[in-house]
Amino acid sequence: MKTTEKSGSPVRGVTCRRPAGRKLAEWFSLGASALLILVLAGFLAHEAFKANAPQVPVEVGIKWNEVREVGGRFILPVEIVNRGEQTLRDLNVQLQYQPSGAAEPETREVVIDYLGERSETTLYFYFDQPPDTLQVESRPVSYRLD
């Protein structure tokens, strides 16, 4: 139980109350906190009034200049960029390539759980042959919005 004596002086070992008046340091903490909250609320309100279409542009690009051979296999980085204003869920990215000697092209699909607005991420694909000889193409296939 929090108590104060009649005189207002705190009792030993129990929580005492702060004096009624605020000191400069307390005003500083309050001011900084209020400013932070106002900036966040202002930003959110600004974003909330912007119309967000459900059609979100996603760019998928192969980083050819960053292909590396490691342990006899080739690693191909593919960059996925969300240019939209919404977080995407279950973004499906497809990579298609034509192996030498194969009649049909092969396809690999990766699902990215979350890709935030204006965010980017990189996927790395393994190949047994140099990827620049395989006619590699990549594209986004589908996504989900909450």
Partner: protein, 323 residues
């Protein structure tokens, strides 16, 4: 520094405010740490709409406002005062949540601002409750259980340290029955110190186990450990030790009784020992309950121990507070 009058020694209240902020950080860490390590919290923060986040911010402020209004830790407790305290509590929670999310690599510059704010606000909700609780329950106390203004009048002799036994006059942390005091006084200082050290060791172990047990079997530990660089892990280790020191000593939550002076009673030594206990508990829990993949490589195992070490250290320090 003026020893006689604390108001003159700290005219603008920076010292007291600094201590109160450290208490708030400690309270926020104790309450919010497990949720700061929860993947679903990060993901919900990412996908919530701006209106939803604005509503959440309003709800956090309202919750803290009610808490501050009811806890009444100012002599003049009006609606305005409660509103101001809730703003400060939420501000501290936002800063602390941001720091932890940066530390665990959940906030990066490549992601959008709304997404970052979503994660921070969602995590700030539980942290702010801890901040408000610490502010309401701990402000005005010193480590000796006295108010600062009374501190100057406290005699230094051991007899004088013995708390008054009148009902309602004892700090729950330092209160002893006469029999306990009599038993304590018949033991040598070395025995008393050993007993106290063992009690605090057990408390640190129990606290670490309770906090780390909630997190050790989850995927988050592997995820965080795998993405952090050695430098980030080193930073996390340092931050764990700093948080431990804040909770144990800097925030002045409780009295630290020293029966026999030695290097092991120095705050730095005690902080290091508590961190070591917490890291050991983390390692054991990860071996028993953790993801098997983290045991495949020593570097990943160490990274996972350090990652789990942060909540474990907070738990260890919190455990020692109630020992």
């Amino acid at each position: 520094m003026n020893e006689g009058n604390p108001a003159e020694a700290d005219p603008h209240g920076w010292r007291r405010e600094g201590r109160d902020l450290l208490q708030a950080v400690a309270g926020g860490a104790i309450v919010g740490m497990p949720l700061l390590y929860t993947m679903e919290m990060w993901q919900h923060g990412m996908t919530m709409s701006e209106w939803h986040l604005l509503g959440l911010l309003g709800a956090i402020l309202a919750l803290n406002f009610v808490f501050c209004l009811l806890s009444g830790f100012r002599e003049e407790n009006s609606l305005l005062v409660a509103a101001m305290e809730s703003v400060t509590a939420v501000g501290i929670a936002i800063v602390f949540s941001t720091a932890i999310l940066c530390l665990i690599g959940e906030i990066e510059f490549t992601i959008g601002a709304a997404e970052i704010i979503g994660k921070i606000l969602l995590e700030a909700a539980p942290v702010s409750v801890g901040v408000s609780f610490a502010q309401a329950q701990m402000q005005g106390r010193s480590r000796t259980g006295d108010d600062e203004e009374k501190k100057r009048d406290r005699p230094e002799s051991r007899d004088a340290q013995r708390p008054a036994t009148a009902e309602g006059d004892g700090d729950p942390v330092t209160k002893r029955t006469d029999q306990e005091w009599a038993t304590e006084e018949t033991n040598s200082p070395g025995d008393r110190q050993l007993k106290a050290d063992l009690r605090e060791f057990a408390a640190a172990m129990a606290g670490s186990t309770v906090f780390a047990l909630n997190v050790a079997p989850t995927e988050e530990i592997t995820l965080i450990a795998a993405r952090l660089s050695p430098m980030q892990l080193l930073l996390m280790l340092g931050f764990s030790a700093l948080l431990c020191y804040i909770i144990l000593f800097a925030a002045e939550f409780r009295e630290h009784r020293v029966h026999e002076e030695s290097i092991f009673q120095h705050p730095v030594a005690e902080t290091v020992l508590t961190c070591a206990v917490s890291l050991t508990v983390s390692a054991v829990l990860l071996m028993l309950l953790g993801d098997r993949s983290i045991l495949t490589h020593p570097a990943l195992t160490v990274a996972a121990v350090v990652t789990l070490g942060l909540p474990a250290t907070v738990g260890g320090a919190a455990g020692r507070l109630i020992a």
